[in-house]
């Protein structure tokens, strides 16, 4: 009963806060709007527009690294968000951000999202299992059911492979964005170690492992190196 009463009230409150943040942005109070958007994000729930707007606010303040981070988050929630896609490209051009190159399977499999592949896998699995049950219990074996069974399990295998490939790919859960300035990827976990690559803000890295305050990451140009953990933020919260 309490939940039923409290939910619309909370929703109205976040709507008001969202409108306030938008107004602050419109008035040019970008830092205020950033604070409001981040407060909304902390409280949840999340949606792509919220991160997109926060990215715009960061862009206006010249923080291209965080702008790119939030555009990437918007796209992670809604891969076909046209505004986020457009602004992300602009921010990348401004920051000279480096991008990770996806592997060729990942390039082709990106036409659908992980969630779409998950649903496809589920449907294919159950249809396939149903065909199998029918084949077991039917008095007469149906060739149609056998073909369908084979097709469904093939679709299931492709879907599972796609999920695995996308999840560990450059847009997967390990994707992080460099948010600090003057970040140097190094060959060892020391500020004095030799530099591997200079990473402009907004550059993509893929976290491979962490050690203390350092992240070992796959870098653009097929390089690998250590970067300070504070200098990058993971896209997926």
């Amino acid at each position: 009963m309490i939940c039923v009463v409290a939910a619309p009230s909370a929703l109205a409150q976040t709507d008001a806060q969202f409108a306030k943040a938008n107004q602050e942005y419109a008035q040019g109070d970008f830092k205020e709007s950033i604070s409001s958007y981040e407060s909304l994000i902390r409280g949840g729930p999340w949606n792509a527009n919220l991160f997109y707007d926060l990215g715009n606010a960061y862009f206006r303040t010249g923080d291209f690294g965080r702008a790119i981070l939030n555009y990437e988050r918007a796209l992670a929630l809604e891969p076909h968000h046209p505004e986020a896609t457009a602004n992300l490209q602009i921010a990348r051009d401004e920051a000279h951000a480096l991008e990770l190159q996806p592997s060729w399977p990942e390039r082709y499999l990106r036409f659908a999202t992980i969630n779409q592949y998950s649903f496809t896998a589920a449907v294919a699995f159950w249809v396939g299992v149903s065909c199998l049950v029918l084949l077991i219990f039917a008095r007469r074996r149906s060739a149609m059911a056998a073909v369908l069974l084979l097709a469904m399990f093939s679709i299931l295998a492709v879907a599972i492979f796609s999920i695995w490939q996308l999840d560990r790919g450059v847009k997967g859960r390990a994707l992080a964005i460099v948010t600090a300035d003057n970040v140097q990827a190094r060959i060892a976990t020391a500020d004095t170690a030799n530099s591997v690559l200079a990473l402009p803000p907004g550059s993509q890295v893929k976290i491979l492992s962490t050690r203390g305050d350092w992240i070992y990451a796959a870098l653009p140009s097929n390089l690998r190196g250590w970067i300070p953990a504070k200098s990058a933020e993971q896209v997926r919260l």
């Binding site: 969202f18 949606n47 921010a91 920051a95 000279h96 896998a121 140009s221």
Partner: protein
């Protein structure tokens, strides 16, 4: 082929020395006692000598195999002088090495003004690097300067493996030499041979230069000669003593037989290089070594023996002793002797001031070539710049070339590898790989500069790479071409390549703010990690379980019905069999007949599952849809059965007539659904 002809007693060289040619050994006329010397050579065991032909045969096979392997690689050629400086009358060795083309043939003679160059031999070398066999053919030339001056040996074109290879142009400096005094010769330190056991050996230190610069690599040779009959054994390897210079590890470069003053000597040559650490006048050497030699036991009696045929010059040769003609006649003794050369003076000059910024201490004569890959990249992508520095000098001080204008580039520490072309590493090629990443659009690579000091020209030389055009896409264009000029002030927009501030073009504006807030809650977690996804899978799972349960139950039911029908059919068949027999009493007969009708009725009822015990005449007649006559007959059958069952056993006749039996059988057999 040249041969060393040095007279240890007078310490004077009367002809040229070319000690590196291995073929020189076989072409020397051997004295009669050479057989003894062959039995125990200086550095090689007798076993090695015995197996020498076999080893040579194996080497031939390896050479053939290597040649097969080497064909896969593209052939290459190198040309190296053993010394870039000499004095008039002092020959210099030229070695042309062709790798990967065993069929290559070099010219017999090279034409060069002021020089007489003849081919003196050839050899084949097989190397295994990283499990890969490489075959090389080495052609040795002897260069005899005809006059003093600076001479150029022109590039030689040699056809190898279907390709035309060209040797680099080499320069030889020949100093003037009035007369043949030792002062003009390359500095040599040699020891005169006293008339004792030690006179059977000699050593000389050859330093080709008298003046050098600090850090300059000066090649040196140590020649150690042993009378071929003393069966020498080296106890301590040679070393060059002295202060103020560093010496590289000595490498044995050759061994040959020389006839000096009528005596056969096994001469072993060691090569090394020295580099002076400071300016001043130094004494290099002496070079010292210890060896054991076999000499005849000393006799106190005055010499009474006849002169040895080897002692041509009546030098009181200890080998005139009869011991050498008959070793068993007297005992010999092994004696340790010190082999020591004379020191050689070397004047070391400091390097001139005003060295170029890219000078890292390299002294010698070098060439530089640069290449880059890839030539088309995106901003931030790495470009590998390969710089090859070839020549002759102190390669340990040859560092990677400096980038003259690094603006707009990110440079990574270079890697290097060195391939030496001679034993001591004075000649060779050092390759550097430097990774450069453009931070903005560029049209060419920055110029690379490498400086060295040329001791011949006595000046610093700076080599600069040719501009290499590249294409860099993405990012802003280079702000100002003028920024590539050293010393010019960079524009503020290009000062910080990674700066988020706009550079030269007006930045594109981002799209508008979205004020609509969708109600749908979105998550970064993939749907397959969410509980609701897996909970939803319960729906098809339960549906499938329900379907399967229903199908199983149906199957069980079908199975039970089948069993019942089978049992009824079996019972019906047995009853019919009994009815066809004549031995049953009327009571049994009618009971079985009525039971057969009931069973057949139950079977004919199909899915209705009629219990046979519940079947009466009317039910059976309805089930089989009998007409009036048959119905009456069936009714009468049931009545008779009941009569025989319930009214006692003795009503009516004791047996059933054949007619009645046939009638009953016919009635039952005609019951068909």
């Amino acid at each position: 082929m040249e041969m060393s002809m040095r007279y240890p007693h007078c310490g004077e060289t009367v002809s040229a020395v070319a000690q590196t040619s291995k073929s020189a050994v076989s072409q020397v006329s051997k004295p009669a006692c050479r057989a003894e010397a062959d039995q125990v050579p200086i550095w090689k065991s007798a076993i090695r000598q015995v197996w020498k032909p076999a080893l040579r045969t194996i080497a031939v096979f390896i050479t053939i195999a290597a040649a097969q392997f080497a064909r896969a690689d593209s052939p290459s050629i190198t040309a190296v002088l053993n010394n870039s400086e000499t004095v008039l009358g002092q020959p210099v060795q030229l070695e042309i090495q062709i790798t990967g083309a065993p069929d290559a043939e070099a010219t017999e003679e090279i034409l060069a003004d002021g020089l007489e160059i003849h081919r003196t031999g050839s050899s084949q070398r097989i190397e295994m690097r990283n499990l890969k066999l490489t075959s090389s053919v080495i052609y040795d030339y002897t260069i005899l300067p005809l006059r003093a001056g600076r001479f150029t040996i022109p590039p030689q074109t040699i056809r190898a493996g279907g390709k035309l290879l060209q040797t680099p142009q080499l320069t030889l400096n020949v100093a003037d030499l009035p007369g043949r005094s030792s002062g003009g010769q390359p500095s040599r330190g040699a020891q005169s041979q006293p008339a004792s056991a030690s006179e059977l050996v000699f050593a000389e230190l050859i330093v080709p230069k008298k003046v050098a610069y600090v850090g300059e690599i000066v090649p040196v040779q140590i020649r150690m000669g042993f009378d071929a009959r003393v069966h020498p054994r080296l106890v301590e390897p040679p070393e060059i003593t002295g202060q103020g210079f560093t010496a590289q590890k000595l490498q044995q470069s050759g061994e040959n037989l020389e006839t000096i003053n009528g005596r056969p000597y096994d001469v072993v040559t060691f090569k090394s290089a020295i580099a002076a650490a400071r300016a001043g006048k130094f004494e290099i050497g002496p070079a010292k070594a210890k060896a054991q030699v076999v000499v005849p036991r000393t006799r106190s009696a005055p010499r009474s023996r006849a002169r040895s045929p080897f002692d041509l010059f009546d030098l009181d040769d200890p080998f005139s002793d009869p011991f050498f003609s008959n070793p068993f006649s007297q005992l010999a003794e092994r004696r340790e002797v010190e082999v020591k050369s004379e020191p050689v003076a070397l004047e070391v000059k400091p390097l001139p001031p005003n060295a170029p910024p890219s000078f890292s201490g390299a002294i010698g004569n070098f060439t530089m070539a640069t290449d880059a890959k890839p030539k088309s990249v995106q901003v931030g992508d790495p470009i590998t710049v390969t710089t090859t520095i070839s020549g002759r000098g102190n390669f340990d001080r040859v560092n990677a070339p400096e980038t003259e204008n690094e603006r707009g580039w990110h440079k990574y520490p270079p890697s290097s590898k060195f391939k030496q072309d001679d034993e001591v590493g004075i000649s060779g090629t050092k390759t550097f790989e430097t990774v450069l990443a453009p931070n903005e659009r560029k049209q060419s690579l920055p110029t690379l500069a490498f400086s060295y000091f040329d001791p011949v020209k006595e000046q610093y030389v700076t080599l600069r790479s040719e501009p290499i055009a590249i294409t860099v896409q993405g990012g802003p264009a280079t702000a100002n071409v003028a920024t590539s000029q050293p010393g010019s002030s960079p524009p503020a927009t290009a000062a910080k390549p990674n700066s988020p501030a706009p550079v030269t073009t007006k930045p594109q504006d981002i799209l508008y703010q979205l004020t609509e807030r969708p109600r749908a809650v979105e998550s970064f977690e993939p749907v397959y990690t969410q509980r609701v996804f897996w909970a939803a899978q319960l729906i098809p799972l339960l549906a499938l379980i329900g379907f399967a349960g229903w199908k199983i139950r149906r199957a069980k039911i079908d199975n039970r019905e089948a069993w019942r029908i089978a049992a009824l059919q079996h019972e019906a068949a047995e009853l019919m069999h009994k009815l066809r027999r004549n031995d049953a009493s009327p009571r049994e007969y009618y009971a079985e007949a009525s039971r057969a009708v009931r069973v057949k009725t139950a079977l004919a009822s199909g899915g209705r599952e009629i219990d046979p015990n519940m079947v009466d005449a009317e039910t059976a007649a309805d089930a089989f849809k009998l007409n009036g006559d048959s119905r009456d007959r069936l009714r009468r059958l049931f009545e008779q059965s009941d009569e025989w069952q319930y009214s006692g056993a003795h009503n009516g006749p004791g047996r059933i007539s054949r007619e009645n039996r046939r009638e009953v059988l016919e009635l039952i057999e005609n019951l068909r659904a």
